[in-house]
């Protein structure tokens, strides 16, 4: 397996790491560790019965952080999907905000407790609100990019989804529209091999999601989603090209979901424990840590300090969200339509 092979390999210059730069690498690693700790805490509070439902990102942190680091937060338009907690964290959603979302509190900036957790929305980061039906945000991305281009902005639109979404009609209609109009959209598929229980081979007859790009006359690239550096490089190049008017691209980050689909799912029904354990050997967090250590950018002392910091942050976010007031039932009929004051 790859980690063992790397451990026995002689130390050499990691060209990719050098290209990305130490500061960004350490930021990536910190976000991944923080995301995992928040994620694990979310499952705990769900199992404690404090919240009814969670849907999280474990296993997919590298793909998400790599992509996020290639974007300009608050400038580029983002259409995430429900697995994108690490992406949100990397763009600038705070741990408290993520926990407020999980606890469905009034202060939750995503929806004030109206949506299930992980249905992200945040105007300050230009994160457009999304829904549960899979793939519906894909045409939205084309439309958002159309608007940005019409205004002469150099922003790109980043649209994230799983491989199951690529079977929907909205994927076809949205990607085709963006391709025909050469819109600046990064279509970013996190292929975690399962759409709930249905494996990739029952989802598509092509070998990869990236192969689907050919049907639209756009470039399709497949990248190792467990390697944040590789994802960062691929997305950076795509973003640069899209900003310059080069049109859309379909990027497939091949990854794996370590946890069940949601807290209501039992993944033992559809995948073996051996398969999950095998995939955990390519957990992106230890993989990056080893690379950082080999490059002399990380050590045990720093690891210990980070773990302590992350625990403090997660404790704070959880305590803050838990005590935060729930939404006021008196507000339940608000925002069906624009309120007169908002229309100006």
């Amino acid at each position: 397996m790859r980690p063992a092979k790397e451990a026995t390999a002689p130390k050499s210059v990691d060209v990719a790491l050098e290209a990305v730069g130490a500061e960004r690498l350490l930021a990536m690693y910190r976000i991944m560790v923080l995301s995992r700790a928040l994620d694990e805490r979310m499952w705990i509070v769900q199992r404690q019965g404090k919240v009814p439902f969670v849907i999280t990102a474990q296993g997919q942190e590298a793909a998400q952080v790599g992509a996020a680091m290639a974007l300009r937060p608050g400038h580029d338009v983002i259409l995430p999907y429900y697995r994108d907690m690490t992406l949100m964290l990397a763009l600038g959603m705070t741990p408290r905000e993520l926990m407020l979302n999980v606890f469905s509190r009034a202060e939750d900036p995503n929806s004030g407790g109206r949506q299930m957790p992980a249905h992200f929305s945040l105007p300050r980061l230009r994160v457009l609100t999304g829904s549960s039906p899979v793939g519906t945000q894909i045409p939205h991305a084309a439309g958002a990019a159309l608007a940005s281009r019409l205004r002469g902005e150099d922003s790109v639109t980043f649209c994230s989804f799983g491989e199951g979404a690529t079977s929907t009609g909205d994927f076809h209609e949205g990607v085709n529209f963006a391709a025909v109009l050469q819109l600046p959209v990064i279509f970013f598929c996190q292929n975690n091999r399962y759409a709930i229980s249905v494996p990739q081979r029952r989802q598509m007859a092509v070998e990869s999601v990236a192969a689907r790009a050919a049907a639209y006359g756009i470039e399709g690239i497949s990248v190792d989603g467990q390697d944040p550096v590789a994802v960062y490089q691929v997305v950076s190049q795509a973003v640069e090209r899209a900003r310059a008017g080069g049109g859309p691209i379909l990027i497939e980050a091949v990854t794996y979901r370590f946890v069940p689909h949601t807290s209501d799912d039992d993944d033992r029904v559809y995948r073996s424990r051996e398969e999950v354990e095998q995939s955990r050997r390519r957990d992106p967090i230890p993989l990056l840590r080893e690379r950082l250590m080999e490059a002399g950018l990380w050590d045990e002392a720093r690891e210990q300090a980070l773990r302590e910091e992350v625990t403090r942050i997660v404790d704070d976010a959880t305590a803050y969200a838990e005590q935060a007031p729930p939404p006021d039932p008196a507000t339940v009929a608000r925002h069906v339509f624009a309120e007169p004051s908002a229309e100006g």
């Binding site: 609100t129 519906t136 608007a147 909205d170 949205g174 339509f337 908002a342």
Partner: protein
């Protein structure tokens, strides 16, 4: 003030709003070079260019989905669905997305979008060029549903729809596009979304209609007026949100209610209006509520004799008025 056809009033509204606000774009199948299959958008691409008047791929869900993304990102899209019969692939985008964006984001995002679609029967359009789809959308909070029946209202309501902060389903009675002419006030003529219009005053019974049926109902009212039955005709104009006060005030005055629509009978607008009157004005009624509608059929058949057998016409409406007045 000039007399115009409804189709020309619609084109004027689009043109004026595109000139007034650079955020307004038009997108749909054949809306650009061809100017739309009913030529509602003719001339716009020459004036505003292909970046703002967009011939889209043939993809209704995509058209509405793209318009939603553009609306959230600051534009004022007017999406055309070529026929209302083709709107069903976009139902998920309209109902699950457009209608719920403001609510689900707790007011953080809005979706100022207009979906225009020609609707209705009476043009020998058969199953898939005749449908009335208004009740599907009127059922969904978060959507406004507008149906004009006159050129003046078509222009004024479409301009209001484009300026509205929320998604508006704007259904155009295509049989009226060229058949109905009327005076349209000059200048920036805007008609507010919401209020119904008393199209004819009367005291014997209230008849509620919209779209092309409004004109047939007015003709029927003129027929029965010669027999001494004065019908008050209400042009609904906005189906959602419903102008309850105008409806109830008229029914309280006349004590009799007839609802006319070419949509199916079951769970059509007539059902909701009848329920409203039953809840709020039952003791003001002198007779049971009546409806003249299409029968509950999957769709409108193509052959002329078959379509004529099912579509409400002036004679049927007048007969219902006579019977209701006698009860």
């Amino acid at each position: 003030m000039a007399v115009k056809r409804m189709i020309d009033a619609i084109r004027e509204a689009l043109d004026e709003e595109m000139a007034r606000d650079p955020r307004v774009i038009v997108l749909g199948e054949d809306v650009g070079v061809k100017g739309g299959v009913f030529v509602a958008t003719r001339g716009l691409i020459e004036k505003y260019g292909p970046d703002r008047v967009i011939d889209t791929p043939l993809s209704e869900s995509g058209i509405v989905g793209v318009a939603i993304g553009a609306a959230m990102n600051g534009l004022r899209p007017v999406a055309e669905i070529q026929f209302a019969d083709f709107i069903h692939p976009a139902m998920d985008q309209i109902i699950n997305e457009a209608a719920r964006i403001r609510y689900r984001s707790n007011g953080a995002w809005g979706c100022p979008l207009v979906v225009r679609a020609p609707y209705g029967a009476g043009i020998r359009g058969g199953l898939y060029h005749s449908q009335s789809v208004e009740s599907f959308f009127a059922h969904v909070p978060g959507l406004k549903v507008v149906i004009p029946s006159t050129p003046a209202d078509a222009k004024g309501l479409l301009k209001s729809a484009i300026r509205d902060e929320d998604p508006v389903i704007f259904l155009e009675p295509k049989r009226a596009y060229r058949a109905i002419q009327g005076e349209v006030p000059d200048g920036d003529w805007v008609v507010p979304i919401g209020p119904a219009r008393i199209a004819r005053e009367g005291d014997r019974l209230t008849a509620v209609a919209y779209g092309m049926m409004l004109h047939l109902t007015l003709q029927a009212a003129e027929q029965v007026a010669r027999e001494g039955i004065e019908v008050e005709v209400i042009d609904l104009r906005t189906l959602a949100p419903l102008d309850r006060s105008t409806l109830l005030a008229s029914v309280r005055k006349t004590g009799r209610l007839l609802i006319v629509h070419e949509d199916n009978r079951t769970l059509g607008m007539g059902a909701e209006i009848a329920a409203l009157v039953a809840e709020e004005a039952l003791y003001d009624l002198d007779a049971p509520v009546r409806r003249v509608t299409m029968p509950d059929l999957p769709a409108t058949p193509f052959a002329a004799v078959l379509e004529d057998a099912v579509l409400p016409d002036t004679q049927r409406i007048a007969q219902a008025m006579r019977e209701l007045a006698r009860e």
